[in-house]
C-alpha cells in the first residue's frame, strides 16, 4: 500500500511540472516514480500503523485547518502592521520569551504546531526541545492567544484515536 501512496505522491507533481502529456514523457514519469517509490517508500511513510481511511480523514481535516490558519495569518498580520505603522510603536511593543509544554506527542504534529506559530505574526518559535517550546512573542496580545486553539485543532487532526 505504501508503494501506491508514494507513487501517487511522486507522479502527480511530475505531471504538473512537466506539463507534457505525450506517451514518452508520461512513460518516463511512470518509470521514475515507480523506481523512487520502490526505493524510498519507507522514507515517505514511516508510520505504518495508520489505515487508508485514517490518512484520508487526516488529509481532509488538514485542508480545513489550512483554511483556518490562513484566516488567522491575515488577522495577525493586520495586528502586527498596526504596530509597525503606529507612531507610538515603542509603547505597543512588549517583546518577551514564552516557554510552554505541549501535549502533542507525534513529531509531525509538533512540527505543524511550530510552523503554525511562526506563520501567525507576533509569535516565532525559537526552539523545540522535546515537548518544550520556546516562543518569542512580539506583543502582549500575541503572547496571549498563543497556543490554546491551535494546539487543540492540531491534536484533533493528528492525534485522535490514540
Amino acid at each position: 500500500m505504501k508503494y501506491l501512496y508514494s507513487f501517487v505522491v511522486l507522479f502527480a507533481p511530475w505531471l504538473v511540472l512537466s506539463g507534457k502529456f505525450d506517451p514518452l514523457h508520461v512513460g518516463m514519469g511512470v518509470l521514475c516514480s515507480l523506481l523512487v517509490a520502490w526505493w524510498c517508500a519507507d522514507l515517505l511513510f514511516q508510520d505504518r500503523k495508520s489505515s487508508t481511511g485514517d490518512r484520508l480523514r487526516q488529509l481532509v481535516a488538514f485542508t480545513g485547518y489550512t483554511g483556518w490558519l490562513f484566516v488567522q495569518i491575515i488577522r495577525a498580520n493586520l495586528h502586527v502592521f498596526r504596530v509597525a505603522f503606529s507612531p507610538r510603536m515603542n509603547r505597543l511593543l512588549a517583546p518577551r520569551m514564552v516557554e510552554f509544554d505541549t501535549g502533542l506527542e507525534k513529531e509531525l504534529s509538533r512540527f505543524v504546531l511550530a510552523n503554525s506559530i511562526t506563520l501567525t505574526p507576533g509569535t516565532v518559535t525559537v526552539r523545540v526541545d522535546g515537548s518544550r517550546f520556546l516562543v518569542h512573542a512580539l506583543t502582549e496580545t500575541a503572547a496571549h492567544d498563543l497556543h490554546g486553539a491551535m494546539e487543540r485543532r492540531i491534536a484533533n487532526i493528528f492525534e485522535k484515536g490514540r
Binding site: 510552523n115 511562526t118 516565532v124 518569542h136
Partner: protein
C-alpha cells in the same frame, strides 16, 4: 479575473510595505525577524494568487501554470517559517539579547 488579480497583487504589495516598515523600525533582532519572516509569507502568497488570477485569463494550458504557482505557494509556506525559525534559533544561541522598554 484581471481585476481580482490586480487587487490581490496590490494588497500583497501593501503588506510588503508593512513588512519593510516593520523591518526598519522594530528595535531588535528578534522583532525584526518577526516582520521579515512572515509579513513576507502572506504578501508573497497574495501576489502569487494574483498571478494565478492573471494567468488564468490566458486560456489553453494556463491551468497547468496555475498549479505550478500553487506548488510554489506550498513551498513558501513550509520553507519560510522553517528558515525564520532557524535564524531565530541561531540568534538565540549567539546571545542576542531581546529588547526591553527602558521603564521595565
Amino acid at each position: 479575473m484581471v481585476i481580482l488579480g490586480c487587487i490581490l497583487i496590490a494588497v500583497g504589495l501593501l503588506f510588503f510595505l508593512g513588512t519593510t516598515l516593520g523591518l526598519l523600525r522594530f528595535p531588535d533582532f528578534y522583532s525584526r525577524m518577526h516582520a521579515a519572516g512572515k509579513g513576507d509569507t502572506l504578501s508573497t502568497v497574495l501576489i502569487l494568487l494574483g498571478c494565478i488570477c492573471l494567468v488564468s485569463t490566458q486560456g489553453g494550458m494556463s491551468w497547468l501554470l496555475g498549479l505550478k504557482i500553487l506548488l510554489i505557494i506550498n513551498f513558501v509556506f513550509i520553507g519560510s517559517p522553517t528558515a525564520t525559525h532557524a535564524m531565530m534559533d541561531a540568534g538565540d544561541k549567539a546571545g542576542a539579547t531581546p529588547w526591553k522598554r527602558e521603564s521595565e
